[in-house]
């Protein structure tokens, strides 16, 4: 639906200047990063863990002077246990903020994904119809195809058929009938005049 090779513009048209420029930029950036990585000297102290820190991290008393991270993980029962302990002690506030971020994202996705709605006041009843769903247009097209047998067999192999069909669907305004074609007693449930 969204990704088809024949609809990808970058495979069918001549690439603009930006594509060549971005390839140049990407290759240059990679060689710059690679030179920094291979020639740079990392001067960092490797952390050591004292028994007091291990006691504070996971409540296990260890015998010895200093331990590497792998030994501390063995004392605490594994990497996962140690990560969980740190996530709930030192990183508790970022953890809660991350949960808020996820909540906001979920609400935003639901609001953005809601179909467009209009509320109709029709014969005293309040109805809500969804404009996001092309209700009934497939039935109208199927009926039109059934009346004309020559058109009834669509060639599915030709690319771009959906684009050709999408134009009249959009022109009909997604509910099947354009606004100016609707008679005053237009019934939105059956999508035809009531008379």
């Amino acid at each position: 639906m969204l990704v088809r090779p024949e609809n990808l513009a970058e495979l069918n048209t001549t690439p603009p200047v930006q594509v060549g420029l971005s390839w140049l930029l990407g290759i240059g950036l990679f060689f710059e990063l690679a030179s920094v990585i291979t020639t740079g000297i990392v001067q960092a102290q490797r952390a050591q863990y004292t028994p007091a820190q291990i006691q504070q991290m996971c409540g296990v008393s260890a015998q010895g002077q200093a331990f590497t991270l792998q030994q501390a993980e063995q004392f605490c029962g594994g990497n996962t246990q140690l990560l969980g302990a740190i996530l709930y002690s030192n990183f508790l506030l970022p953890f809660e903020v991350a949960s808020l971020v996820l909540l906001v994202a979920v609400i935003a996705a639901i609001v953005l994904g809601l179909p467009e709605r209009v509320v109709l006041i029709h014969e005293g009843h309040t109805r809500t119809i969804s404009l996001g769903h092309p209700r009934g247009t497939d039935l109208i097209e199927a009926a039109a195809r059934a009346h004309e047998p020559a058109v009834a067999a669509p060639d599915l192999g030709k690319p771009g058929d959906e684009d050709v069909e999408a134009v009249p669907t959009a022109a009909r305004g997604r509910t099947g009938v354009a606004e100016e074609e609707r008679p005053p007693d237009y019934d939105f449930r059956t999508e035809r005049p009531k008379s």
Partner: protein, 102 residues
């Protein structure tokens, strides 16, 4: 063949980041651009974890978790925006979405 050192991990991370950046710059389909952004975020994750491994620290791994969380939130909102754009314009080609062009 020696052991895997910090340099190897950082090289893979740089390669992933450059591939993602090339995808963002050259592709025109919004979904593929999104996949490329995910590739760049995961390259940063790989850097975090490899530095944490090198320095015997756990903070880098925790930060990688938070990066994954933010990436998930970004994907959720971005995919919803893509769906909304496809609904109104029937395309996900970024060259045809010029409404915000000043």
């Amino acid at each position: 063949m020696g052991d895997l050192t910090l340099t190897h991990f950082l090289t893979v991370s740089a390669l992933l980041f450059v591939i993602g950046m090339l995808g963002v710059l050259t592709r025109r389909n919004l979904l593929i651009i999104f996949m490329s952004i995910e590739l760049m975020l995961n390259a940063a994750n790989l850097s975090f974890v490899s530095f944490a491994r090198y320095r015997n620290l756990l903070s880098g791994q925790v930060i990688a978790f938070f990066v994954i969380t933010v990436a998930a939130a970004e994907v959720v909102v971005g995919l919803a925006i893509i769906v909304a754009i496809f609904r109104t314009r029937a395309t996900v080609d970024v060259d045809e979405i010029t409404t915000l062009r000043g």
